[in-house]
């Protein structure tokens, strides 16, 4: 019997406002410990929070981008629990009246399209950071305390690690396009908790879920999902029952460990924070933000599909980074084969880009890239040569034609030259011809390999192939 897993995510996104959510302290990452703090974010007796309005605008943007409805009256609640990273012993969050409710996001994987429901988007303050010393003590850095977060909760609509990855990539891209977060995972600006359960395929009822925390890279998330899925299946197959609990992913051990069970779960005693007034959002305000929303990854994806016929999962790769999506938009119309362009852009250009950085710049002129794509499209050069040209174009501002000239990379299209080379190859390795005649069609590959070796990859593949199949094979 096969199983499927059911996954919902809680994603925390640190907003890129200049100041913290309830005070004027800087949100900058990496300051010396406890230098970006004041009585408010330290929760000192008598200090009161005052909401940074930009946080609400950012949350509205996120809500609108995720097709949510925006509340007209929001409320901030206290989530009470004791932990040293929480200086007030409560976190100001939103429980009953979050900024945004009930949206969705479309994702495409190789398996097709899926709409993932968005339960809610709410605002809250981040906690400080505990630093456990090797000597046994624990230090606390409150710089991060009070940095604004939005929490985006999805419905349990994902069924595989691939879908989770696609969802997270699209969500991260959406936040980046909105310019509301740096989304730097290594700085904790984009964090994810995974709620996962398994059930037999075809079943409609949900299994018991676990929540996994401490997942701070895509790679860990993928691994954690596979590992947890297998763990739960093993428990069920072994006749046991999955326990509802919170688990912590240990990246070093490649394994998750139980943190606390449902019985030990906190009673957060949520109640409206009496220090803060209700958040009133006027419909004009929502409309004004809506009118100013930038083109989002989903808009680009739809455009790429409709205008250039790019497949869904390829589009998703293109829209991961706004610089790439913009680059593609601008140059695609100059090419005759946008699909080849998309593939080249993703496969090759991505290598050069640090997608984690904020300012992705592709230094290649749009018309140069388009010209290169057209050379491939017209079969004037091979994809392999195109890749070499691309590497050069990254360094210089020359046109692809000039690079091909200068480096003498143009393919050999002279039929006579290739014929001579081909005869030599078959003389040296007659096995190729006999294999081919015996019906082993892969012998053609061996021939082409030899031919490329002999020409440093410059032989025109279609001509070389044609020579082999129509002439040389009959000569020898």
């Amino acid at each position: 019997m096969s199983y499927e897993c059911v996954i919902g995510l809680e994603v925390h996104v640190e907003l890129n406002t200049k100041s913290k959510i309830f005070c004027s302290c800087s949100t900058e990452f990496g300051g010396a410990p406890n230098t970006h703090v004041c009585p408010v974010c330290l929760g000192l007796p008598g200090a009161l929070p005052v909401l940074n309005k930009e946080v609400v605008s950012s949350a509205i943007k996120a809500g609108l981008a995720l097709n949510c409805s925006i509340t007209e009256k929001g409320r901030q609640d206290r989530k009470n629990y004791f932990y040293p990273d929480l200086p007030k012993a409560y976190q100001i969050s939103q429980n009953e009246l979050p900024i945004a409710l009930g949206g969705y996001m479309n994702i495409e994987t190789a398996l097709g399209n899926r709409q993932v429901g968005i339960t809610r988007v709410h605002i809250e303050e981040d906690a400080g950071k505990l630093i456990h010393e090797a000597s046994g003590g624990t230090l606390i850095d409150y710089n991060r305390g009070g940095v604004p977060l939005i929490e985006i909760v999805s419905e349990p609509d994902m069924r595989s690690a691939e879908e989770v990855k696609a969802y997270l990539q699209k969500l991260r891209a959406t936040m980046l396009y909105l310019d509301i977060s740096s989304c730097k995972m290594n700085e904790g600006a984009f964090r994810c908790d995974v709620n996962l359960s398994v059930r037999k395929k075809g079943s409609q009822t949900l299994g018991t879920r676990t929540e996994m925390k401490n997942l701070n890279s895509f790679a860990f998330i993928m691994k954690a999902i596979e590992s947890e899925k297998e763990r739960q299946i093993a428990v069920i197959e072994g006749g046991g029952e999955v326990v509802q609990e919170t688990r912590r992913w240990d990246a070093q051990k490649n394994q998750s460990f139980a943190m606390r069970s449902k019985e030990d779960a906190h009673d957060y005693r949520y109640f409206p924070d009496p220090d803060l007034m209700p958040i009133v959002i006027k419909s004009q305000e929502i409309q004004a933000i809506k009118d100013k929303l930038p083109q989002l990854p989903e808009d680009y994806r739809v455009l790429f599909s409709q205008q250039y016929g790019i497949k869904g999962d390829i589009s998703e790769q293109l829209v991961k980074d706004k610089a790439i999506a913009d680059y593609f938009s601008k140059a695609a119309s100059m090419t005759k084969t946008p699909e080849i362009f998309a593939n080249l852009l993703i496969m090759e250009v991505s290598k050069f880009l640090d997608t984690g950085s904020e300012n992705v710049v592709i230094p290649i002129k749009h018309e140069h890239f388009a010209a290169l794509v057209n050379l491939v499209g017209e079969r004037k050069i091979s994809t392999n040569i195109a890749k070499k040209v691309l590497s050069s174009m990254w360094q210089t501002t020359e046109s692809p034609q000039k690079i091909l000239d200068d480096k003498n990379w143009w393919p050999i299209v002279d039929r006579e030259v290739l014929l001579v080379l081909g005869r030599e190859i078959l003389k040296k390795t007659p096995q190729i011809a006999s294999d081919y005649r015996a019906g082993k069609k892969q012998a053609l590959g061996a021939f082409m390999g030899q031919m490329m070796k002999a020409t440093e990859g410059k032989a025109d593949p279609s001509i070389a192939e044609e020579i082999f199949t129509t002439q040389l094979i009959h000569e020898i």
Binding site: P39, P45, G46, F82, R269, Y270, P274
Partner: protein, 485 residues
């Protein structure tokens, strides 16, 4: 020169302006009185002699140079110990905050400093403002200056006693369920609890954030009005802060009560009230009638539920507000712990007093899942009902007349055994906090033990002006009605 402390605030201000006395002399007169009396009274937790004299010197210097000064500049005053003051301890009269020094000034303290007030020190209170007798202070008893065998009321007992014993021209207290009005009543002084949000709460260590309000205590309505006006300013640091107070003291003090409509809730006189308190308040109603006001009996039904609603809401908020005192960052920390849980448990078990722990437990319970709807949520509904009833009442009346407390000041330990008995004393004051309204407490007579009786005037939100006018008019008749009695 010592007799200057018995002069009215207005007179003292005038003497300073006319340079009949220096600010240093006035300050020293108060410090001397504190030295001679506070041993017995116990109003002060901290006397800031040095900094008081330094501020006084600055005021004298400014006056010498002819600089413009605030009307209340140079007047020596004291601050309840739950209001943050840089350079002085702020303890909330709790072991939990023993020796704690706030790194920032409360907004009211900033305003006081801008006005060149002379801060004499910090005054005693019930721990974290929970109590009605100041007996819950971790540090000391404060005695009622009228009868030192009796409590001064609470939680702002130190603030009221300091004014009554002439150990400060005026003081600041805080009122969550009557904590300014009741001690003012017990000590025979005037106390104002402004509309919720009128005076910034920034720097007031929270007990129950939706009910807390700082208020002035002084010897007369006029004094209290002047201090109130100085402090009632909008503050960006407090999200619940209201608009600036724009009233003119001269205008409001000249206003007659003739034609004003006064509501007298019969429910406030039904049971559990000391007979002399009832008589004095009803007499006060007659006095208002004699001045041309129209007094009518009204019913206030929701009031019955006010006390339980108050104890649920205030305790729920307190349970969250006081959670930060965990021994990690500041304040008291237990000596003996092996784990973080133990650090929390022992620190809080040892650092908080009985009454504070009782309220934290009550509030935690009221907010717990499964009980939230039955307790906290229900209390919020009662809150809405009370607010609605007052709103309707104020469509027809200018203010409400009531007692401040069912009794006059009681003896130490008298209500020590049953906390509920103590809570019942808040019955007339808590509805005002629940509805966020202003309330003024002024003396309206004495019982047979010569203990002062307080009269409470309750007004519309943001209409402190009417209360102060009516209170002032009533105060002017005092001589008259004393003779009458």
């Amino acid at each position: 020169m010592q007799s200057v402390i018995f002069e009215s605030m207005k007179e003292q201000a005038k003497m300073l302006q006319d340079k009949k006395i220096s600010c240093v002399e006035l300050t020293k007169a108060y410090l001397d009185n504190i030295k001679s009396q506070d041993e017995v009274i116990g109003a002060y937790l901290h006397v800031a002699e040095e900094s008081a004299i330094a501020s006084a010197n600055r005021v004298d210097e400014k006056r010498r140079k002819g600089e413009a000064l605030h009307p209340l500049s140079g007047l020596p005053m004291a601050i309840k110990d739950n209001i943050c003051t840089k350079g002085m301890p702020t303890t909330c009269a709790s072991k939990m905050l023993e020796g704690y020094q706030s790194p920032f000034d409360a907004t009211v303290v900033k305003l006081l400093k801008e006005a060149d007030a002379v801060v004499l020190g910090k005054v005693n209170m019930d721990e974290f403002a929970m109590g009605a007798s100041t007996e819950n202070s971790y540090y000391k008893k404060t005695r009622n200056p009228v009868d030192t065998d009796r409590v001064p009321g609470g939680s702002s007992g130190g603030s009221a006693a300091a004014v009554a014993a002439h150990m400060a021209t005026y003081t600041l207290g805080s009122d969550t369920g009557g904590s300014v009005r009741q001690p003012a009543s017990f000590c025979g002084v005037v106390g104002l609890k402004p509309t919720y949000g009128r005076i910034s709460r920034s720097g007031l260590i929270a007990f129950a954030s939706s009910l807390d309000q700082i208020g002035p205590l002084g010897r007369s309505v006029e004094d209290v009005a002047a201090v109130y006006k100085m402090l009632a300013k909008h503050d960006e640091m407090d999200s619940t802060s209201g608009p600036d107070e724009a009233l003119s003291i001269d205008a409001l003090l000249g206003k007659s009560v003739k034609g004003m409509r006064v509501a007298l809730p019969t429910a406030f006189f039904s049971e559990g009230i000391q007979i002399e308190v009832k008589e004095a308040v009803l007499h006060a109603a007659k006095v208002f009638e004699s001045m041309g006001a129209i007094v009518e009996e009204v019913s206030l039904k929701a009031i019955d539920a006010a006390l339980p609603a108050y104890y649920l809401i205030s305790s729920a908020e307190a349970s969250s507000n006081l959670a930060r005192f965990d021994g990690v960052k500041y304040g008291y920390r237990t000596d003996d712990f092996q784990s973080i849980e133990e650090l929390y448990k022992r620190t809080r078990g040892e650092g908080f007093g009985r009454e504070v722990k009782r309220r934290i437990l009550l509030g935690t319970y009221a907010l717990s899942s499964g009980y939230y709807d039955a307790y906290y949520q229900k209390a919020l509904k009662i809150r809405t009902m009370i607010l609605r009833e007052y709103t309707q009442l104020f469509e027809r009346y200018d203010f409400v007349l009531s007692p401040v407390a069912p009794s006059t000041a009681f003896k130490f330990g008298e209500h020590g055994k049953s906390p509920v008995e103590m809570y019942l004393g808040d019955i007339y004051t808590v509805p005002v906090n629940i509805a966020g309204l202003p309330g003024l407490s002024i003396n309206c007579g004495f019982d047979q033990n010569h203990m002062p009786i307080g009269l409470q005037l309750i007004g519309k939100a943001h209409d402190e002006a009417t209360l102060l006018s009516a209170g002032f008019a009533f105060e002017q008749t005092k001589k008259l009605w004393r003779v009458e009695r």
